[in-house]
Structures are given as structure tokens and as C-alpha cells.
Symmetry: C2
Amino acid sequence: MEPTFNKICIYGVGLMGGSLALACKKSNSDVEIVGMGRNEAHLKQAQSLGVIDSFSTDLATALDGVELIVFAIPVGAMQTAFEQVQFFLNDSMVLTDLGSTKGNVVEFANKIFKQYAKNFVPGHPIAGTEKSGATAAFAELFQQRRVILTPTEITDTSATKRMTALWQACGAEVVEMPVAHHDEVLAATSHLPHMLAFSLVDTLSKMNDKQEIFKYAAGGFRDFTRIASSSPEMWQDICVANADSLVSVIEKFQTDLATLSKAIQSGDKQTISKIFTRAKKARDQFSNE
Amino acid sequence: MEPTFNKICIYGVGLMGGSLALACKKSNSDVEIVGMGRNEAHLKQAQSLGVIDSFSTDLATALDGVELIVFAIPVGAMQTAFEQVQFFLNDSMVLTDLGSTKGNVVEFANKIFKQYAKNFVPGHPIAGTEKSGATAAFAELFQQRRVILTPTEITDTSATKRMTALWQACGAEVVEMPVAHHDEVLAATSHLPHMLAFSLVDTLSKMNDKQEIFKYAAGGFRDFTRIASSSPEMWQDICVANADSLVSVIEKFQTDLATLSKAIQSGDKQTISKIFTRAKKARDQFSNE
């Protein structure tokens, strides 16, 4: 058994950070969780909910004796957070993040953490809901979910092992993949669907008969657009951080949608049927896994 | 209280037709439901499940004494079905359909049913699941769902009233709107989302790392793509039947998505944020209704 962490600092106690705090407490009742973040009112609320044990907005206090720092903030806020903590690190601290993109986060970590960059284990739990904030946090969020770790050639192997053990204790399945591959895969399976959901709801909300439009939307629409309720701030950061991979899959999608639209316009049932049948087959296979 | 129907013929005993049969039985234990369709094995199964009381593939037998015929088949199959039944109609029969598009169905009804076209009440229950077939049918499918009726200037008012009463007895809320308006609203809220879901899954399934792509798709993706498991046959018909309205909203969507993609490419956080915030607001408002 890998050694666990006795004192953990969660930087950003929202849905993800808060849920990790609760999951750690559930698997290890001795763990001490310190919260850190920009908003004191939010930290107070997280403490009163029992998500964190204590908090401090003072870095030296918050990080005293901490063995693991978890950056659970939007990817656009990572650079500033890394810059803030860089002077309070020591070699026995493991560092990790929960960001949805990895390329830019790793770049910041290498540049800012310098000799401690080897202790940074880039991470991304494939879990979440469309809600945000510590009030939405729950200990089971990562149960039977995949957590992707993207250690680089400089990452300390024992740090990666300890993070793997932590996530497994929280009920997650840990997989490793290269940074760039992570960003391509997530652009397709997560970032693109979010763009489509946001963009669809936006298109409809600009229509003249907006009120009526939404009135006749059925259950399928509700499911389809659920992710458009996600945090705009978080998603704007993800888009910018993963712009290249994302724009590339958006373009692929636009080409395919244009092909479908042309087939509809010309009444080409054969092409339409081919697309729908291929999609249904892939979706049914996915949902059976 | 409007008079109910004592004997109903369901033409096409799938998810929708089967659920209407079960809902009618639940609200009126005396009703007799006759099934009709192309596939005898499916009809036998529906009978053994108690969805229909009897069935016949012979039209004269199936329609004997029937007071209401419900066409619960893909919109692309309506014309042929209307042509088949046209010689077995009488003036005391009410006719209706459950089709997802109304323009083409009304056109066929007017042309084929001739003097009985006034007895045809075009209908569209805003309900369904991604499943198909009588085995997926359940009596509660229409509970608290909206059913849109689109009577035209020739539709007999008492036929519309009887259909309204039938749907209300099944727990649905009935609304009326003009045929063309129905087709525009549904293109935006139902047909477009289905195109995006089918097209997204198709785009991903054509990627090289297909297996891996779907492996890292999370819960949001599952919800988002659920409607891509819908019947390809049904949806190819809907696309062709509502091509004009659908292509028009697809084009609107593509323009909006291109704007978003351009903003992502140029790192224009302000534009991205504006789109996401507007979408989240509309989605949250919709889900609270």
C-alpha cells in the first residue's frame, strides 16, 4: 500500500475540489483538509458544510505541514495560482491539479515550479455535473469514474504512485496517457459536445419565438442541453487552453453536419440513413460498455 | 364530458402507438384496441404483452366498428398507410396521427382522405424515449406531456374536441397551433438537436482512435448523445418531411458555431463568455419551468 497523505490543501473548494475533499475524508478519517481560495465567504460555507476542516487565505498558514496541494480551479486561473504558491513549496510536497486541459497546465507547472515541477502530477478526473460550488460537492463523485494522469518525462514516479493510490481510495480507476493525447481525446468527447450544447441553446434563445421554442422542447432536449448549464467561466478557460485541438474537431464536425444538411436538402434518404445508422450503432455500443 | 371512443385501431404498435393503447386502456377499461401493421410477429408480441386486444393484417377486419384510427408510424410511411385505409373509412370515424411533422402529413390526408379529410385531426405528442417497439411502451408516457394538435380550416371541430378529451384522459396537456408553426418550432427544439447528436457521434466514430475516444466520454456525453440512439428510419423520414424548416435552423446553428469557433481560435474570451453566459441563462430558465 502506498503511503497516503495526512494533510491536504485543496486550492479552490468547488464541486470538484469539494468532492475530492469529501472522498478523501470518507476513505481516511484521519486526513486533515485545508481549504484555500479567493473567496472567504465560499470557504466559510465549505467549512460549515464539513467539506474542509479549516481554511486560510494566507498562504504560509494554509500550506504549513501540507503534503499534497490540489489545484481545483478553472484552467485559466492555474498560472496565477502556481505563481502564488511557488515560494511556499518544499520537496516533500506532492502537487496535482484537476484541470480539464493538460498541455497548458503542464507548461505553467514546468515554468513556475522549477525544481519542484517533478513533484507535479497532472490529473483530470472524468467526472462532474453541470452544477458548481461546494454545496454541490459529494464524496461519491469519482466512484467508478476514470481519472487520467498525464505524468511527463520529468515527473517523479513515486509522486505518480501516491496520486494513483489516492484516487483509487476515492473509488476511481486511474489511467495514464501522454499530455497531448489527453487534450485531443477530451476535445472530441467533452469540449466539442459542450460547444454544441452552448451554441444550440444560444441559437434558439436568439429566435423570435424564444419563449414558445423552449415550451415545446421535450425530455430529449433537456438531456441534450444539460451541459449548457455548466460554468461559463470554467468553459471559456478550457476553450482557450485547448483551442487548437478544439477548433480542429469543431471543423471536422462542421464538415460532417454540412454533408448531412445537404443530404436533407436534396432528400437523399440513403446518405441520411447511413449517417444515422452508423451513429446509432456507435452510441448503442458505447452505452453498453 | 366529451364522448370517448369504444373501439380504437392503432396502426403501428411501436413505442408511441403502444403507449397510447396502454394509456387508453388505463383510463377506460372498456375500450377495445385493435392493432394493425406490416409485421405480424410484432403484432403478436404486442398482443401477448397486453398492449392490444387483437390484431389483423386484413384491413376490413381490423377496421370493423372502429371509431378512431391512430396512425402511429414514421412520417415517411403515412402516405402509403393513408392510401391503404382510404376505402374502409366512414363518416363516423375520427382519424389522427402521432407524426413528428405535420405539413406533409396534412397534405397527404387532404389529398387521400378526400371527403373524410375533415375527420382527420393532425397530432403530435411531445413525448418519447430513444427506445422503439411495443416492448418499450408504457401507459405513463404522455403524463404531463404536451400534445400539439394542428387542426386546419377544414377539420371538424367535434373531432378535435374528442381527440382533446382522449389525450387529456391519458394525462397530457393539449395545445393547438397552426401546421406551419408546428413544423418550425419542432425543427428548432427537436429535429436540430437530433441532427447534432447523430452528427457528433458519427464524427467521433470516424476518428482513428474511436475505441479510446468513447472510453473517455463522461456522463455529460452519455446524456448529450442519448438521442443518437433513436430510430434511424423514423428520423430519416422526419428530416425529409421537414427539410425546409430543418435546413434553415441547421444553417443558423452553423453560423453561430462558426462565430464561436473563430472566437476560440483568436482567444477572444469576451465573445466566448457572452455566448456561454447567454446559453446558460436560457437553459437554466428552461429547466426551471
